[in-house]
Amino acid sequence: MNKPGKDVEKRERIVNRIARELRDGFYVNLGIGMPTLIANHVPPGIEVIFQSENGMLGIGIYPVDGQEDCDLINAGKETVSETAGTSYFSSADSFAMIRGGHIDLSVLGAMEVDEEGSLANWMIPGKMVKGMGGAMDLVAGARRVVVAMEHTTREGAPKILKKCTLPLTGVKVVDTIVTEMAYIRVTERGLVLEEVAPGLTAEDVQRATEVRLVVGERLKVMEV
């Protein structure tokens, strides 16, 4: 069992690494939970517009106490604020935007990801009934899909598998997997390990991964 402090550290590393994928002018959708934290780490000098699938472009920071508005929430149902240039629209318009390829980057969590870039994150048969929300549309429609997740389960079992075992959210949709251990790109020749966390080797990452990784020609240490 991991200590809570350790979990926070892992998450910070993942969030910081993905924040460095942001580019000026990007329209970005962040999933519920850990991906939402990326909004707090936008690199200086870059302007990014965050989309919320419940019908908003231009999500701002959390409001100050007393300014919260029940009509102004993000997809995680948290109270948020506007930015200059915020717009609102219906759910049908929101998903037209998503499916239509207008969102540059979608970051979301996963329970399992496999060699082909398929992912599972919405149900465990017989155990958990939550629903896919907007995840299936996001992975099918966003121009780039990044998975943000811890490398293994709490019990230490791999989550990057040869083949997902849980019901899928999307088939061959993931472009990049970022964990506290590694930065991995999904390619035609398999999962390419491009970066490892400081203090780790490619072998350490491989041991925590079910599928055989292709070690990148320019393997780097992850900047965190």
């Binding site: 100050v64 109270t79 009934v129 629903g131």
Partner: protein, 233 residues
């Protein structure tokens, strides 16, 4: 033209057992609170509810759920409702989970005279099981059918006596599409105004879609997850 009814009770007078009802709202944001309370009071049974979420325990659609009024629920995310999760796992209610974009588009299509459409969402997953697929320009799409209903319960910020509606911020969500997709659309509003008071360029739902309208008596306006930041200094 005057579509105003006196109360939520009067607005739902013809909702019978077995009705298929759409309810606007995302989480607790933009839900038709007054209509839900009236329906819980009326006690109609064997309902099919179409709503993104299922409320929370004891509020929103959760109110109808705990009263045992729902036979089937169609939505996209029910993770905030433990009662529903347990009822589904125990086989007491039928739950159809639909990807949110497909859910939205099926409702939009129903209101727009489109019986079906092809979407890339869900291809190769459980949600495409048994459905027709087709390739367009080298990519596979799955056919999804329009989703109509008997009634739509929508909530707007302002509305006029003719039924024109204006929503506020993210409380808009599914309300405008649901307003188009039902045989009978009932709108509850926070502020009921005279015809001509709303700016025609700013109307989100044109009056043609709305059959009945009333000003809600009580808005609890509950916030599901209150997140705030500290003021610096």
């Amino acid at each position: 033209m005057n579509k105003v009814v006196a109360s939520a009770d009067e607005a739902i007078r013809d909702v019978g057992d077995g009705s298929v009802i759409m309810l606007g709202g995302f989480g607790l944001c933009g839900i038709p609170e007054n209509l839900i309370r009236a329906l819980a009071k009326k006690g109609s049974k064997n309902l099919t509810t179409i709503s993104n979420n299922a409320g929370v325990d004891g509020l929103g659609v959760g109110l109808l759920l705990s009263a045992g009024q729902i036979r089937r629920h169609i939505g996209t995310y029910v993770g905030d409702n433990k009662l529903l999760e347990s009822m589904v796992l125990a086989g007491k209610i039928q739950l159809d989970l639909v990807p949110q974009g497909t859910f939205s588009e099926r409702i939009r299509a129903a209101g727009a005279g489109i019986p079906a459409f092809f979407t890339p969402t869900g291809v190769g997953t459980m949600v495409a099981n048994g459905k027709e697929t087709r390739e367009f320009d080298g990519r596979t799409y799955v056919m999804e059918r329009a989703l109509p209903s008997d009634f739509a319960f929508v909530k707007a910020w302002k509305g006029d006596r003719m039924g024109n509606l204006v929503y506020r911020k993210t409380a808009r969500n599914f309300n405008p599409l649901m307003a188009t997709a039902a045989k009978v659309t009932i709108a509850e509003v926070e502020q009921l105004v005279e015809v001509g008071e709303l700016d025609g360029d700013s109307i989100h739902t044109p009056s043609v879609y709305v059959k009945r309208i009333f000003q809600g008596d009580l808005y609890e306006r509950r916030i599901e997850k209150r997140t705030v930041r500290k003021v610096s200094g």
